[in-house]
């Protein structure tokens, strides 16, 4: 761990100022990922700007019927918030499928967006990794890649190859719910749709998201529709808790009788960002909510998927998981061990 300076601004403006003045600094919220990364010599911030004193912990209702989640509200406070539980049970279920109680008590909503990949090669500084050290290569491509991405990967140029996944559970539900990330920066406020917040590796795998220099996430806005009647987060992993998803599915359905009127599906554990495809969701609209109609949706979502050996099983597993997640979202009988 490198030596670093530490400061604790009292306002959002001064937090932004500090980051603009010192671009090698990093914000720290719960620190549940950043501190690990610092101990591993992966992140070497010159300064930790502790934002825990900023007034961003509230969860409040929005006039349009939505909900604003403060960036510094903890994952635990969010998952157990009565409004979240009532209107966005998908989000609550998803958050509780991640990490452990201890971590959820520390981790913040804003910080969750900035979790870095769990790729073994990214985490081991003696290994090549284009994300950690641009141009150094990708150890995972021909290595032990069982946990790696099958969609939206970058694998044609050795100097930019990246098959890492985004590790968050919460972000998968946020993607399905079409949350909006509120950002402040030196040029004022802006909003970013969840779908545009994280990015695919492309030619710059070192960048996980589209945040601009000096920007800070202040809140996450949830639209009014929480898909609270028919939803599911199905997470497949190597043990029943405290493991990252091999494949996960966040699903929300609206039904009239047994006919689907609206569908949202996002996948986790398969790409550099939560994976959504609106064409796949549209396939369901007007169809009966039965497994036979879910399979084409799964095929569509996995279109273009590519395995790298150890992780090839994820392609079929993801399809199976989508069908099961949707089936359980319809019945709301959730009996899948996960």
């Amino acid at each position: 761990m490198n030596p670093f300076a530490y400061s604790r601004p009292d306002s959002i403006d001064s937090a932004i100022d500090e980051l603009v003045t010192e671009p090698a600094a990093k914000f720290i919220g719960g620190g549940t990922n950043l501190i690990d990364l610092m101990k591993e010599n992966i992140e070497k911030p010159s300064r930790l700007i502790d934002i825990n004193r900023l007034p961003l912990t509230d969860i409040v209702e929005l006039p349009d019927g939505g909900l604003r989640l403060g960036a510094l509200a903890t994952n635990a406070d969010t998952a157990y918030n009565p409004l979240v539980k009532e209107r966005y049970p998908l989000l609550s279920q998803t958050i509780l499928a991640g990490a452990s109680p201890q971590l959820r008590n520390m981790a913040t909503n804003g910080g969750n967006l900035f979790q870095r990949t769990r790729c073994y090669y990214f985490y081991d500084t003696s290994m090549p990794c284009n994300k950690r050290k641009p141009g150094s290569g990708c150890g995972a491509l021909n290595g032990y890649n069982r946990i790696h991405a099958i969609l939206g990967t970058s694998d044609s140029n050795p100097l930019t190859t990246c098959i890492a996944t985004h590790p968050s559970d919460m972000c998968v539900a946020l993607a399905a719910l079409e949350a909006v990330v509120r950002v402040e920066g030196p040029n004022g406020e802006r909003t970013v749709a969840m779908a545009d917040f994280h990015r695919l590796p492309g030619n710059e795998p070192q960048y996980d998201n589209t945040l601009q220099p000096g920007e800070i996430v202040t809140a996450i806005d949830l639209p009014a529709n929480g898909f609270a009647q028919h939803y599911n987060y199905l997470k497949l992993r190597d043990r029943a808790s405290y493991a990252f998803a091999l494949v996960s599915v966040a699903a929300g359905l609206e039904l009239e009788g047994n006919t689907v009127t609206n569908a949202r599906i996002a996948l986790g554990g398969v790409a550099h960002k939560p994976w959504r495809k609106t064409e796949a969701e549209e396939l369901l609209v007007g169809k009966e909510a039965v497994a036979a109609n879910f399979r084409p949706v799964a095929e569509k979502l996995l279109e273009g998927a590519k395995g790298y050996g150890h992780n090839t099983f994820k392609i079929d597993l993801a399809k199976r998981a989508i069908v099961r997640a949707l089936t359980e979202a319809v019945t709301m009988q959730k009996a899948t061990p996960q």
Partner: protein
């Protein structure tokens, strides 16, 4: 009051949960410095340069030790051999520029604070010249060869010579089955990381220092021997203390490199030094080896097994021939005239493997006990019935010795009864619950019930307290508690008046805690020394001609309720505290040695047995496997403490679930490096994975194993579980999954 057999609570429990119990990295000594290890990125080759200048330039960094500037240590291999060293040439940290495995320590940074040492370590830059490496066992199976034989072979006998003609018998068999199993490596990963705190004491007239070493080890004397031999120090100068071990599982049977580095730095700098490894570095030394097994069984249609072939090929390092007993168990469980058991090693560019809970046993048992299950299906027989039909009454691998005790039948009967086995429909895929397939499987377990030599000391203080000690360890098995129970019962004292101490080379010699031998070895020594102390007390009590004990012999007396009593008239008694008072104000002490009598125990084969019954649910669409309940019935001799005994078996069962379903050190053979080297990615079960576990101890009387009649229970709990789980998965799905762990991808594809 009799304590043996009672569920006495852990005597050190309160100290552990309140943090009062100190572990190796928690002993604070004045002016402590901190070492941090730099690990090799390369798997094989040599260091061409190592630049420590940036690290050394930091104020507070005392030294960076590398192969270029390390202090001289012993020259001969012999000096580096600890008590558990396999045949070969032990690894020497910082010895030269050669890199022998990925993660090898290449430098030790010592600084005034831990944080500074860690930062400075990140500034050490090495360049390497790479050589081609071999880390993939399966790619090199054809090169496997017989292991070298050494002292370690005494405790780990090689397979017996083939008997009969297994090939011919296999051809003549009515039915036969064949299977191949691959087991990946596993790392022990105890909660407590390896750590050593060396307190640099005064120097003798030759300048040799007295060192007090707090080490994470399963054997304090083993660490002492290692340090004294390598650093040319008299034993009197090296005191090793290790009162608590935060999990061992075998990883502490050999000194690890942080001990060498901490002592080296302390001696060179004349300072106290602590070196603690990181979780990542816990993947850079011993581990359960990668093993490939092939099993063939032949049987006549009535279920009599007529032919066995069991072959194992395991990985070892390029510098030591680490061996395990993998295939011999098959011969012990099934006494078949035409049997061939073989075991070979393939050296690879990895660190030497190291004993890990039921080493070899859990590996070999998985292969043979799934093969027996497959054979039962071929024969259309119940798996329990097939095992009963081929029940061995003697151990041919040890020259047809009878078992000192073997209540395995009772394990089958009682385990099956508790589990409800008779309700089982043997047809695969016949049981369902919701959308899950349900499977029931079972397997036999077997482990050694060995005993070694140990010494113990007992002191009755002037205020009537009994203090017993022996330099064994308690890696969580309950040693503190059970030794206290034995001592209290032997001298008829209330347990509150008895204290047992361990883990210090100032105490009488005991072997390292391993192989499920502590109860037999140290328990016998504790009983012995308390009896010897009792004899001394009797002598003291009867010294005066007027004493009622003047004419009393040992067989005439008993110790009860803190008193010495005449058996024929218990009213004739003397308080122990009053007897000590006759010793002129001094405590009464005794030191005794205890070892098995080879003339008696050598005639028998001594083992623990178990039967594991498991129910799994398999979600066939998604490949998930859940162990919903398991019953293990154990024949482990006399149960000294049902509470700690149950805890040992439950722990073993949980690890069995881990081994069967989750645990795997994943190596990238391109780099020869374990990649999932942290506890987020190296999976072991969490509470949510563990459901209903039940333990039965069957009655088993054994006067041969030791004077207590007790057998060790540290390992038997894990042995049968992986096979029982794999068999249950077959029963659920109709699919045999041969390799472990049985993960989602293996169930589905």
């Amino acid at each position: 009051m009799t304590y043996i057999g009672q569920p006495v609570k852990r005597v050190e429990g309160a100290d552990k949960v309140t943090g009062k119990a100190k572990y190796a990295a928690e002993f604070n000594v004045p002016d402590l410095t901190y070492g941090y290890v730099v690990s090799s990125a390369l798997v094989k080759g040599k260091i061409t340069s190592i630049d420590t200048s940036e690290a050394l330039a930091l104020p507070g960094v005392l030294e960076v030790f590398t192969h270029e500037n390390r202090p001289k240590t012993a020259w001969f291999d012999m000096n580096y051999k600890d008590m558990d060293a396999p045949p070969g040439s032990p690894f020497r940290p910082l010895h030269d520029e050669k890199i022998k495995y990925s993660g090898q320590p290449i430098a030790l940074v010592v600084a005034e604070t831990f944080e500074l040492a860690r930062y400075a370590a990140s500034l050490v830059k090495a360049t390497y010249e790479q050589e081609a490496h071999e880390t993939d066992l399966e790619a090199h199976l054809a090169e496997a060869r017989d292991p070298a034989v050494g002292v370690a072979s005494l405790l780990k006998p090689p397979p017996p010579k083939p008997r009969g003609n297994a090939d011919m018998a296999m051809m003549a068999a009515d039915v036969s089955i064949k299977a191949r199993h691959v087991h990946g490596p596993q790392h022990h990963n105890p909660m407590e990381m390896f750590a050593t705190t060396v307190e640099y004491g005064k120097e003798d007239k030759d300048g040799k220092p007295y060192l007090t070493i707090y080490d994470k080890t399963q054997g304090a004397y083993n660490s002492q021997l290692y340090v004294a031999q390598i650093f040319d120090l008299p034993f009197s100068h090296v005191r090793v203390i290790s009162p608590y071990v935060g999990g061992g599982f075998g990883s502490g049977l050999r000194p690890q490199y942080q001990l060498f580095l901490a002592v080296m730095a302390s001696k060179a700098l004349k300072r106290s030094v602590r070196v603690t490894l990181t979780r990542q570095q816990m993947f850079t030394f011993g581990h359960r080896p990668n093993t490939v097994q092939e099993v063939e069984l032949g049987a006549s249609s009535d279920g009599t097994i007529t032919a066995i072939k069991h072959d194992a090929k395991a990985a070892t390092s390029q510098f030591e021939d680490y061996t395990e007993v993998v295939v011999n168990w098959t011969g012990m469980l099934y006494d078949v005239p035409d049997t061939t058991l073989t075991y070979k090693l393939k050296p690879l560019d990895i660190y030497s493997p190291l004993d890990m809970r039921a080493p070899g046993g859990v590996t070999g048992d998985h292969a043979i006990e799934t093969a027996i299950d497959a054979l039962a299906y071929e024969l259309g027989m119940d798996p329990v019935e097939l095992r009963l039909k081929n029940y061995s009454e003697k151990n041919w691998t040890e020259g047809d010795k009878p078992y000192s005790s073997k209540e395995l039948r009772a394990c089958f009967y009682q385990g099956a009864e508790r589990f409800g086995w008779k309700e089982r429909n043997p047809e695969p895929r016949s049981m369902k619950r919701g959308h899950n397939l349900v499977g029931w499987g079972m397997a036999t377990g077997i482990w050694d019930a060995g005993r070694l030599f140990a010494r113990a000391e007992a002191i009755l203080t002037v205020n009537g307290k009994l203090r017993v000690s022996s330099a064994t360890a308690d890696i969580g098995t309950g040693t503190y508690t059970i030794m206290t129970q034995i001592a209290a019962d032997t001298l008829g004292m209330p347990i509150e008046d008895v204290i047992f101490k361990l883990g210090d080379t100032e105490m009488p010699l005991a072997p390292f805690q391993g192989g499920s031998m502590t109860i037999s070895t140290v328990g016998s020594a504790v009983k012995q020394v308390c009896e010897d102390l009792g004899k001394k007390l009797l002598k003291l009590a009867g010294k005066d001609a007027k004493s009622p004990f003047y004419d009393a012999n040992w067989k005439d007396v008993t110790f009860f309720d803190g008193e010495l009593r005449l058996k024929k008239d218990p009213h004739v008694s003397m308080k122990l505290v009053d007897i000590v008072a006759l010793n002129g104000g001094r405590a009464v002490s005794e030191t005794s040695t205890s070892m098995p009598n080879p003339l008696v125990s050598g005639k028998y084969s001594k083992h623990t047995h178990s039967a594991a019954f498991v129910e799994v649910e398999v979600d066939e669409d998604l490949g998930t496997v859940t162990v919903k309940r398991a019953v293990t019935a154990v024949a482990g001799g006399r149960i000294m403490n049902p509470r700690t005994a149950r805890s040992q078996i439950i722990g073993g069962m949980v690890w069995g679930i881990s081994s069967a379903l989750q645990e795997d050190s994943k190596m990238d053979h391109n780099y020869g490096r374990f990649m999932n080297h942290n506890l987020a990615e190296y999976h072991v079960p969490v509470c949510a994975d563990i459901h209903d576990l039940d333990v039965i101890f069957v009655e088993e009387h054994d006067d041969i194993v030791n004077p207590l009649g007790a057998k060790g229970l540290g390992e038997i709990g894990i042995v049968g579980m992986p096979a029982a789980i794999a068999n249950a998965v077959f029963h659920a799905t109709g699919k045999r999954i041969y390799d472990l762990p049985i993960t989602i991808d293996r169930v589905l594809y």
